[in-house]
């Protein structure tokens, strides 16, 4: 069934007609080319397709496009301003938290949601907060280091929790 859909995507107003049953992950990747939203499990277990909807993390493989109506969506492509990396992105780069990188967009958006809920997590809380995002390369240690880096030296002037 086709529906008309209006929402904001990375700050831009979107209107389109599409099949209501489509998954958000497919819409983002196939219609908008936002392939930074990765799919690795298709069943909500790995977190690779994490996006922010109204600033809160959601799994794009479990959402239907109709759920986006009137809402604001942020994908990894919309996180930085095009000139500077977001502090969480920068921390992932600097801490060596990136290996194959397939889980990275989801982990970065998951981190932003974690920091929204708990701006000063300790190491254990970071581990707990990111336990819904699987990574097969890093052993998580450098990812936790990266988040700790953001917490210990927040960048000035940047919005730590953009809505999109």
């Amino acid at each position: 069934m086709k529906i008309r859909l209006s929402f904001r995507l990375n700050g831009n107003p979107i209107e389109l007609e599409t099949d209501a049953e489509r998954r958000v992950v497919d819409l983002l990747r196939e219609d908008f080319g936002f392939t930074g939203t990765k799919e690795a499990c298709g069943s909500g277990e790995c977190g690779a397709c994490t996006i922010l909807v109204e600033g809160e993390s959601r799994l794009a493989c479990l959402m239907r496009v109709g759920q986006l109506e009137g809402r604001s969506v942020l994908t990894i492509e919309g996180l930085s301003d095009g000139k500077h990396l977001h502090p969480v992105q920068q921390a992932f780069v600097e801490a060596g938290a990136v290996q194959c990188g397939f889980c990275t967009p989801g982990l970065i958006l998951g981190t932003i949601d974690l920091l929204r809920r708990n701006p000063r997590p300790d190491r254990e809380e970071i581990r707990e907060g990111l336990s819904g995002n699987l990574c097969r390369c890093t052993g998580f240690q450098k990812i936790v280091d990266a988040v700790e880096k953001v917490v210990s030296s927040p960048a000035e002037g940047s919005d730590p929790c953009p809505v999109g």
Binding site: T35, A48, Q89, G96, Q99, C100, F102, S131, T138, Q141
Partner: protein, 765 residues
């Protein structure tokens, strides 16, 4: 694309990280295009059956279906494989495991594709299956490949050294131990994916997530009856592989699909369930060990029988078994050995390469056997290892002379003074109520490269570009481990250039030169050596041109500096961009090949074992320590602290090395504690990441990685392989820690709460 270039001259930030954190990086799964065709595969779903027919009539009627192809549409051999070509692209005779491909469907969209796959009827005549690897060896066992001369034995190997029977008779102590390991699933985040298109000029472009682009072209061409030169395979960023993409996954099927709809891009992307069902896994193994020592704890004799379940097809199973056989005696002096190994065909899931390549299995058995022996002798686990660990100049267990760098004793010495070892008694004693703690050790060693017969060669190409930057053409895949960044660093060091003036061309069979597989802990070693020679040659050409332009008579006066050549006595500088313009185009390039050295020893005269990689010359070494806490009430085993001390030669990039060690440990801890891929006859019971339990951030401790100062003279800037060794240690280290904590030694991993609790109950805890 916006480029973010944190230009750190010390190369601590990986060049590919900015693209990966912004989502700009493209993986094989990210290729689409106008007029896209989706391709998918009908799988057999049965373990062993004769194919009698395929009925596609209902499926073909669906709107959006462009075609359904079977083995009859294949012009080539329809067989793929690396050493033995025994796996059909599309089944033409019989089904040998549930993941076998029967029919290839091309559709305008994924919805039609899914519906068509459900409507295809496959007529199968069931055959008795073989699901136990030892039952597969019985004389009357059903044959998986009727024409294989050794029946269900894909490959067997025997290594004999010394007088084993006599040596056992003189041993003061003797222990026997049997251990069984299950499948381990690679579970790379990016499932198998690719994209293909028949171009107007008749060439075929393939984009695939693979570790072996050049070899894949040969296999695809032969299987489909194409000219290899017409196939161009490009490898974009790879979302993890760990050995699971060492060999064909989607490539032949995609190429076949593209042939059917020329000009249109075709995409194939397996979902997680398909990936779990079809892809290769770490070989399950049954390992029988018998180890004897004198009263001082010096090993005298080892007997081992190793059974590897290779599943339905070769898929490097013989090579995996051979590496296991080679490493079965570990990094120890062992004058008498009798080691036998079998790789056995079954109708179970496909086994194949997985980081460690047969070694994690044997190391689990050996290192536990050593602890059992130490206990009998009342020696500490560290002391018994110190007394037997090899040093340079020794022969290792299978008789290979260790002429390359060998620093295991130094690793043990570092561990001996480390707080996790010196403070272990206090840590154990501070366990809370209903908790028990133990600290376990395991030594590790890992050979690098292909062994004596298959040439371990890589060819590097480097170019001075018009703007005066340097472009490295790498034919070796970076699966995420960071080898390409290390190439930039190596070239940067030789050419004295910052990261911003260096770029890399990823594997592309038209642009880059063959570099071998991204496997066997050999990427940075082999390609790195080729690159050093190529970079030095290019540097020489640039300096010569500089000398000519400066009018300098002594080449030593001309040096490369970031973006310029400089004449030292006068301080004159010429931009590299001008040098690039002055040089003839062929002089802006340097190409060099490197072939890794091989061992002179031949522990076995068996040419099959040599072909499959026996023996290696260069090994990395290490010792791992796991500190675990066991909950008596739940059986949960938690690894609280972890230490890996490694001899991997000189560490060129400490951060990338740490990433590799930590990632390897994490995979090893998953193998030890949670990961179990289950099958029951022809049913795959583990179908998703809810059933297959990977460690999360919460399940892993912080891990300490300490490299010892070592230097491998044959290696690029002194390094040895570090890709695999870390996965060899965690299982035995945890097993030994669990045994120390509560005296239980399980016969199989993973050490799940259920298994541990049952063992504790049997002990009366």
């Amino acid at each position: 694309m916006t480029t973010f270039s944190p230009d750190l001259a010390n190369f601590s930030v990986r060049f590919d990280a900015p693209g990966k954190v912004t989502g700009a990086e493209k993986y094989a799964a990210d290729y689409y295009g106008p007029d896209l065709v989706w391709a998918g595969v009908k799988r057999a779903g049965a373990a062993h059956a004769r194919l009698k027919g395929i009925d596609c009539r209902e499926a073909e009627k669906l709107p959006g279906i462009l075609g359904i192809l079977s083995h009859k549409d294949i012009r080539g051999t329809n067989r793929q494989g690396i050493i033995r070509r025994d796996q059909p692209v599309l089944v033409d005779d019989k089904v040998r495991y549930p993941g076998d491909a029967i029919a290839l469907v091309l559709a305008e969209n994924r919805e039609a594709l899914g519906r068509a796959l459900g409507l295809i009827r496959v007529h199968l005549e069931p055959l008795p299956g073989v699901f136990d690897l030892e039952a597969a060896l019985a004389e009357d066992a059903p044959l998986i490949h009727e024409h294989h001369p050794e029946g269900n034995v894909l490959l067997k190997g025997h290594l004999l050294r010394g007088e084993v029977r006599e040596a056992f008779q003189h041993c003061a102590v003797l222990v026997e131990f049997v251990f069984q390991t299950p499948y381990q699933e690679h579970a790379y985040l990016e499932t198998e994916a690719g994209w293909a298109r028949m171009e107007p000029d008749g060439s075929l472009t393939l984009v695939a997530s693979t570790q072996t682009p050049f070899r894949d072209c040969f296999e695809v061409a032969e299987a489909l009856g194409l000219d290899r030169e017409t196939i161009r395979l490009k490898v974009p960023a790879c979302g993890g592989a760990f050995g699971g993409k060492d060999g064909i996954t989607v490539q032949s099927l995609l190429a076949l699909a593209a042939l059917y709809c020329p000009g249109r891009p075709v995409k194939m992307w397996w979902d997680r369930e398909e990936s779990f069902t079809v892809s290769c896994k770490r070989h399950p193994a049954r390992l029988y060990y018998r180890l004897g020592a004198d009263s001082e704890g010096r090993f005298q004799a080892l007997e081992a029988r190793l059974h590897y379940d290779t599943g339905p097809y070769d898929h490097l199973g013989g090579a995996v078994m051979t590496l296991g056989l080679e490493h079965a005696g570990g990094p120890y002096r062992l004058p008498n050995i009798d080691l036998k190994a079998w790789a056995v065909y079954t109708n179970n899931p496909l086994s194949g390469p997985f980081r460690g390549f047969g070694v994690p299995q044997v190391n689990a058995a050996l290192e536990q056997t050593i602890d059992l022996l130490a206990r009998k002798l009342n020696l500490s686990p560290l002391e018994i290892r110190k007394r037997n660990a090899v040093v340079a100049g020794d022969q290792n267990a299978i008789g290979v002379h260790l002429t390359a760098s060998t620093h295991l004793q130094e690793c043990l010495a570092v561990l001996e003074t480390h707080p996790l070892w010196t403070g272990k008694e206090a840590w154990k004693a501070s366990a809370g109520p209903f908790k028990r703690r133990g600290v376990g050790l395991a030594c590790v060693m890992h050979g690098q490269g292909y062994g004596p017969v298959v040439p371990d060669v890589a060819t590097a190409k480097i170019e001075l570009t018009g703007p005066g930057c340097f472009r490295i053409y790498s034919g070796v895949v970076d699966m995420g481990q960071g080898n390409s960044h290390t190439y930039l660093q190596i070239a940067g060091e030789i050419l004295n250039q910052p990261q911003s003036r260096l770029e890399i061309v990823r594997p592309d069979t038209r642009e880059t030169l063959p570099g071998g597989s991204a496997s066997a802990s050999r990427t940075t070693y082999t390609f790195g050596r080729a690159l050093i020679e190529a970079a030095q040659e290019l540097k020489q050409k640039i300096r010569e041109k500089g000398a000519e332009l400066f009018g300098a008579w002594d080449l030593e006066e001309v040096i490369l500096m970031p973006s310029v050549v400089s004449h030292v006595p006068t301080g004159w500088k010429i931009p590299l961009s001008r040098i690039a313009g002055e040089l003839a185009p062929e002089d802006c390039l340097a190409i060099h090949s490197f072939q890794a050295p091989i061992a002179l020893d031949r522990p076995s005269p068996d040419p099959a074992l040599q072909l499959h990689g026996l023996p290696h010359l260069i090994f990395s070494y290490g010792v791992h320590l796991a500190a675990v806490e066991v909950d008596e009430l739940t059986g949960l085993v938690e690894v609280k602290k972890y230490l890996a001390v490694s001899d991997c030669g000189r560490i060129i990039n400490p951060r990338i090395f740490e990433q590799q060690i930590q990632g390897g440990i994490a995979q090893g801890l998953g193998y030890a504690l949670t990961e179990e891929f289950r099958v029951e006859q022809e049913k795959v019971l583990t179908r998703d990441l809810a059933a297959y339990i990977l460690p999360t951030a919460l399940d892993l401790p912080d891990m300490e990685s300490v490299p010892v100062a070592s230097f491998e003279p044959s290696g690029p800037l002194g390094l040895k392989g570090g890709g695999e060794i870390a996965v060899d240690g965690p299982l035995p280290a945890v097993a030994n820690a669990l045994a120390e904590a509560c005296g239980i030694r399980l016969s199989q991993n993973p050490f799940t709460p259920e298994r541990v609790l049952r063992a504790l109950r049997e002990q009366g805890v």
